[in-house]
Every structure is written in C-alpha cells, then in structure tokens.
Symmetry: C2
DNA sequence: GTGAAAGCGCTAACAC
DNA sequence: GTGTTAGCGCTTTCAC
C-alpha cells in the first residue's frame, strides 16, 4: 500500500517550496515556466494529484453538487441525472446523490446531510423541501434549484417545462382530432407539474367549449394509474371517454396496457391516449405515444447555469424561475386531426 | 448569509473545550452525559453540524463511494443506482457519480478524478478499467468492485449474476418449448456478461444436441439490435429462426418491436423471444418478456458488503468474485414447454 | 516569482 | 472524562 503523495513531497523532489507546488496546480497563479516544469516532472514521477478535499477545506468550495431525488423509476430522472452529471463534470463539478426513501421520506434530514458535505449547490428533483430548510440553505449560501417542480419558496430557483402551455396544447390537439369526451388521469395532487398540466389542459378545453368528461387520479404511480383507467373505461361504450390525457408517460404506458390487454380497446381507434415527458419508451413502437417532450438537456443547462451563476457571484445572482417550452411530439397513440400536419402561414 | 458554525463556537457556548464537542459527535468516544447535554444544547441553538470534509481530512475516511457508469439508458443501471445509493446511505456513505462519456471515454481519467476526492471505494458499472489503473487504486488502498462485469484483474472484486448458468437455463427452456431453430443476438463482445451468457447458452444447446441456428451482434444497443433482428428474420419462413435469445432486455424490446411491427411476426406464435435482466418494462404487458432476473438488490448487497469489508479491515479483506444466481422469469414472449410448470420432485 | 507562515474545521494522541 | 497539542493537505496572504 503506497503512501499518499503530498504536495510537500513533490516540493522536496522538485527543490521548491510547498506553496510553489500548490501554485502550479492552481489555474490562475503566477509561476515561472521553469518552476512549472520542475514541479510537473516531480509530480508525474511521484504520481501526485492534489487532494480535492483539502483544497475544498481551505477554499470553501467543494465542487460537489448535491442531488436529491426520490425515485428513479420514472425514466425522466435517470435521463436527467445522466445529462446533469455530464454537464457538471465539464465544469469541474460532481454530483453527490441523495435518495429520499420512497416512504414519504424525511427529506429535510437528507438535505441536512447534504449540507454537511459542504456542497456548492443543491438540485432537488421530484421532491419538496420545507421552506424552513430552504432558508437554511440560503443562510448557508448554498443555491438550491428545484428541477421539474415549481415552488414559490423565497430565494429558491426552479426549472420546469411550461406545463400549463403543454397541457393546453394537448387539449387543442385532442379537440382538433374530433374528440368529444375527453378525460384526464392526474398525477399526485401535491406536484406543481400535475397542477399546471391539468390547469392548462382544462383551460385549453374551455377555450374550445369543452370540459373534462371524466377525471381520476393516478398519483404518478403505475398501479394507481392502471386502476384509475380500469374504473374509468370499464363502462358502457357510450359512457366511455374517447380520449385521455395521462399526466405523465410513465402512467400512460400502464394505462395503454390496461386499455388494450384488459379492456380490449384499440388505440387510437377506440380511444386516444396522450402523455407528458417523452421518455424513451414513448418512442418504442409498442407504445408509440403522442406526448409533450420535456427537453431535459435544456432544463439541465438552465439548472447548471443558475447554480454556477450563484456560485461565482453569490451577491448578484437572484433566484430564477425558468420555464422551458415543451414541443408536442405526435406519434400514433392519438387520432390525428384532419389536415394534419397543419399548414404554416 | 450566516457564518459557518464551527465546533469551536459550540465549545465556547457550552463552556467546554473544542475537543469535547468533537467527542460528542464521535460515536465511540467517552464523554459524560453532562457534557453531552451541554454540547448538544449549544449545538442545537447554533445550528451546528460537523463538517464532513474536515472530518474526512483528518480521519482519512471520506465516506464517499465513487460510482463510474457509462450510461443510464439501460434501465438496469438506474435501478442499481437507486438501490446502491439507499444501501450506502444506511451505512452513512454516499455516492459520487462519474459518467464516462458515451464516446469510448477516457475512463482512466475519470477514475483519477475519483481518487482525487479521496473516496473510500469505487464501484464500476458497465465499464472497463485498465489494469494499470486498478493497480493504482489498490496502491491507494481504495477497494474497487466491478458491478455486473467480471474482470480477472488482480485485487479487484466483482459482482455479477451467474450469466453462464442463466444462458444455459434459457437454452433448456427454449429447447423444452420445442424450438428447433434457435438464434442469438449478442451484446458488445468485449463485455463479460455477453461472453458468459453466450457461452452458457451454447453449452445448454449443445447438451441437448442443438447448436445456434443463427447469430448476430447487437452491441447492447437498440439500433444495432433492431438492424440485426431485421436481417436475421427478413428471410423465407423456413430459414427463419423460431426462437431468439437477445443478450439483454433493452435490446429485446427493440427486437420485439421490429419483429411485430416491421416484419409482422407474432410473438410467441411465430417466434419466441427471451431476454436477460428483467428490467421493469419486461413486465409491461406490451412486452411481457420471458427473461432472467438479475437480482439487483442482492448484487448491490454483495457490492456494499465487499466494499465495507475492505474499508473496515483492509488487511484481511481479500477481493471477492461473487456470482448471484438469476431466476428464470417466465412470461408470455416465449412458447411454453409442454407440461409447464414442471412438477417438483 | 517565490518561500515562510497562518490557518480551513476537525480528530486523535497525550497528559492530567 | 477532559483540555491541550499536533497535525490532515492544501490555499493564501505576506514579505522579500
């Protein structure tokens, strides 16, 4: 077991002071080329690399971003994590993962743990955080961004899709498709994504003289969604919706399976189904789901931007509320409007 | 912006020494109840929490485990990450994520970065690591476990399913189902999972007097798999395989979609499809895939166990090669053998 | 441009 | 059981 190589050892070998070594490994420091060469050579030979933790202690910057996430079974989140991690890595940051237990977790405890690691920032995905805790982060000068969730907590940033506009566009699409009995299967009522999507959807219907034909709650959970769909569609044909917007793709797949394999309904002939997220399986032929695309790459870019802005200049970085437009992705799970695609101009 | 609360401040407020404070927050230390009370009270009032990084510096233990992963689009990995993160959290550890870029990444650089964080251990998933680098980790006394990949690199642990046995069981199942023209769509040839699954599958066929009717490589990539399936099945009916084992579920879904929607084949009437992993979508009715279950929970438990064993007693923790049996999950994508399920005894 | 010296916040001997 | 004293490996003034 090799000893740990320290900057001091490198210094001795290179015949310079320890601080010279430090300077060589500090981007903006002033060192002569000669010193750089000597130090680099010695470091190479010894296999020296700066200890990030020690650097973090003295500089106060850990270059660690804490990510709080409740579950990974909605594939929007793994996708997000991959993009986020890559984006941060490019900036020299890394993601420390904190799962809040499925069981209505003590998320505040988790955030406390995060803070203990002296993270430079926190991203929360699919979880709520008490405003007391948010205050604590602000006090500690650790920027927080809520990803895919809007929260009006003071001082906290958020990045979401434009869920209201998305819901509205879906309503327009379904009505244009000639549907008359349009239903909605909701997500967990506490989530802003759920609220905004539904509000937009209802608004869109109302603008076109319709309203929800049926509504049920799937809690963003496949089993709940399946049951909700069963109850909603297992009725006489004339009392059955002819289209349904399911609040996210993950539930939509379960709903489609239930409709097809349990209720023997054809999609989209008997009923149109649309979702929200555009996770990868939505493009799989077995589902071929018409849905709103959450542009994870853009959302992550905004998230990273908000974080870094605050880290680099805490004083002048106001919290931001970013909303990214979500394009409609038309596939085969919903009947197309006549004259589709629409003519430009 | 609140100042950072240090143990010294707590000490002053509690009227004790700074080391007394430290002891109160150190599990096995000897402190009187009276001191504990005073310190806890002062800490509470100040909102003090020990700085994990400072602790890490002096103790040499960061309680961070580095996870290297190449991609998250095979849903086996998000599942793994969730379980791993939860399991480690319970032990007071956390996961620092490192993505190696899709593009045949410089994984060695990534591991170097990990080492810079003074991690207590490293888990690699779906990536290979040069043996030179492995040596470096061993030298640094950082245990490494290869998750879902067997590598005979010295000093490195690995945890995998029993891929050979799994492949063999699949062969037996397919032959028992009356198949005569059995094909295989391989994963990336460099992966041990691919090699072992194929070897087991071939062995199983050979034992029953059969051999591969066709073989093609899907590279563990859906597009490649789709193309491979197309070429393999887009032939006269009598030259077409009647069953295919696709090296993982992720590719199997793409293959099923191709067979059904492009080639208009019925599953399992025209062709049986089996996969490996049992990721969540395998249970979705649209796929209903017969597959071998990789028991992620057990695999993770072994991973954590191997890591902690080494961390707690580096001298006596030999690297281990763990292989977890994978149960066959029979669903509807493959024709059942006669007299299924088999009688016990 | 470079070295000496002072910590970052904490744990771990070491005396008492 | 408690306080005192050294550092952990590094960055960062500060003189020179």
């Amino acid at each position: 077991m090799a000893e740990k190589v320290t900057s001091l050892q490198v210094a001795e070998r290179a015949g310079v002071s320890q601080s010279a070594v430090s300077r060589v490994f500090t981007p903006g420091a002033s060192v002569s080329q000669k010193t750089v060469d000597k130090v680099r050579k010695a470091a190479e030979e010894l296999g020296y690399r700066p200890n990030v933790l020690a650097r973090a202690m003295v500089s106060g910057k850990s270059r660690i971003i804490g990510l709080v996430v409740a579950y990974l079974d909605n594939y929007f989140y793994p996708e997000t994590l991959e993009i986020l991690s890559n984006a941060l890595q490019e900036q020299g940051y890394h993601v420390l993962v904190f799962m809040t237990s499925h069981t209505a977790g003590p998320i505040d405890d988790v955030v406390q743990e995060i803070l203990d690691y002296q993270v430079d920032g926190i991203v929360t995905a699919s979880v709520a955080m008490s405003s007391k805790l948010s205050q604590k982060c602000i006090q500690a000068n650790v920027p927080v961004v809520h990803f895919n969730r809007f929260e009006k907590t003071q001082g906290v940033s958020s990045v979401t899709s434009d869920n209201f506009a998305g819901g509205r566009e879906l309503a327009q699409f379904l009505v244009a498709g000639g549907h008359q009995k349009i239903a909605y299967i909701a997500g967990w009522e506490g989530a802003s994504t759920q609220r905004d999507r539904e509000a937009g959807f209802r608004a869109g219907l109302a603008e076109l003289g319709q309203s929800l034909f049926a509504r049920s709650c799937g809690e963003f959970d496949t089993d709940h969604a399946r049951a909700a769909a069963h109850a909603m569609f297992n009725v006489a044909a004339d009392k059955r919706p002819d289209a349904v917007f399911v609040a996210n793709d993950h539930m939509a797949f379960a709903v489609m399976d239930e409709l097809r394999f349990c209720l023997d309904l054809k999609i989209p002939e008997d009923v149109s189904v649309v979702g929200f997220d555009d996770v990868p399986p939505a493009a799989w032929r077995a589902y071929d789901l018409t849905t709103m695309r959450q542009r994870a790459n853009l959302m992550v870019a905004e998230t990273v931007d908000a974080l870094l802005a605050h880290i680099e200049d805490p004083a002048n970085a106001a919290p931001r509320q970013v909303s990214i437009s979500a394009p409609l992705i038309v596939r085969g799970s919903a009947r197309l409007p006549a004259n589709w695609p629409p003519q430009e101009g």
